[in-house]
Symmetry: C2
Subunit: 225 residues, 2 copies
């Protein structure tokens, strides 16, 4: 065992849950524009969390995701009616796990480490995603930004984990595939693991993750014998 954290906290979207199927549906609904839609949708979703968090204008993540989709419809000139919107949001509600995730999580769970989801998502949508992805019973808790009505990278969101596990942030391992999330978490004081699935460049924010890998299997290698 290389690292023995008191618990492991996982970001949800893009880290545990694969949003790729949303892009596929987007392409089938709007041929030739699926990639642009899924990219802009994600960017706007994240942007709106930050703007609302900075301004004290909290709104649950599910509703922000709808708002971001509506913006994309207008920005990309899509014929985005209620049927298409409902279909895309329904797909967002039932994402699959990345192929290696279930087995990796089982191995981590078997090692005795408490596992948590630590997410911008509101509890209702996370509960549905966990069930959809076949991850029921794998996590000790869901630490949702909804509890503090701020979003990552606000410190109050990251603080949920040391509060819950009653320890220092540096005793916890925080895992995310989002470079910016890993930077925020490192600034906050966690040990961090960047699951850089796509080989993206590191953010230029004067901070580096504690560890970098390409899938959850690399997290298993880090913490399991």
């Amino acid at each position: 065992m290389i690292l023995t954290p008191k618990a492991i906290c996982f970001d949800a979207y893009g880290t545990l849950f694969d949003v790729h199927s949303v892009g596929q549906l987007a392409e089938s609904l709007f041929p030739g524009k699926g990639k642009a839609l899924s990219q802009l949708w994600r960017d706007k979703q994240v942007e709106y969390t930050r703007l609302r968090s900075m301004s004290g204008r909290y709104k649950p993540f599910w509703e922000i995701t709808v708002d971001a989709l509506n913006y994309c419809g207008a920005a990309l000139g899509l014929d985005l009616g209620a049927a298409q919107r409902d279909a895309l949001m329904a797909q967002y509600a039932r994402l699959s796990a990345f192929p290696e995730n279930l087995q990796a999580l089982q191995r981590l769970q078997a090692s005795g480490l408490p596992l948590a989801i630590h997410t911008n998502g509101n509890p209702e949508m996370i509960a549905q995603a966990v069930e959809s992805a076949g991850m029921s019973g794998m996590f000790s808790t869901v630490l949702s930004a909804d509890r503090v009505r701020r979003y990552k990278v606000d410190a109050s969101v990251y603080q949920l984990a040391p509060d819950f596990f009653n320890c220092q942030a540096s005793e916890l391992l925080f895992v995310s595939s989002n470079g910016w999330d890993v930077c925020g978490a490192t600034w906050f004081g966690f040990k961090t693991f960047w699951v850089n699935r796509s080989g993206a460049p590191a953010e230029c924010l004067d901070v580096l993750p504690s560890y970098i890998g390409s899938s959850l299997d690399d997290v298993v290698s880090l913490v399991c014998k």
Copy 2:
């Protein structure tokens, strides 16, 4: 006179200063990638202001702009050496004004209204940009995020204006071409004017600017006889 604010506060980049020339240089340095570079550069620059502001990790806007450019070089696979970086940053330092801006500002100034720059930019780079764009002497003050070491849309940045002009936010007119900036300013309590030069869709943030136009001429029409 339709509206009589106590002063008018202008966002700088994209509102007063035209960043188009940066895109042109980017295209000449990296043929076929100039548009992608200038778009991603701007997006990253703004993203880094928010991440740093939310995390209490302030760094001046000029340095963030360099960081964002370095990220773009890696993300887009550009051969971005010191020469190219220096050339792009030098261009950023000497932007021109949008064509209608100088005359519009002169008319607003002649009407007796105090004009201010209200910006994420640090004072040194704004001073250089004002001179470059031929706007010396037009503004009563530069209200820079640098003073509070946070970035828009943090309320402490917007608060600089009512503090300086010793009045309520609702007595001031805030002008920006950035939809998100106008939303943040409206949330804060300013009267707001969105200079929507590109005909972009409104942000889906449950808030609308007080006024919308397509150039600074429309601001003149709003406040001058």
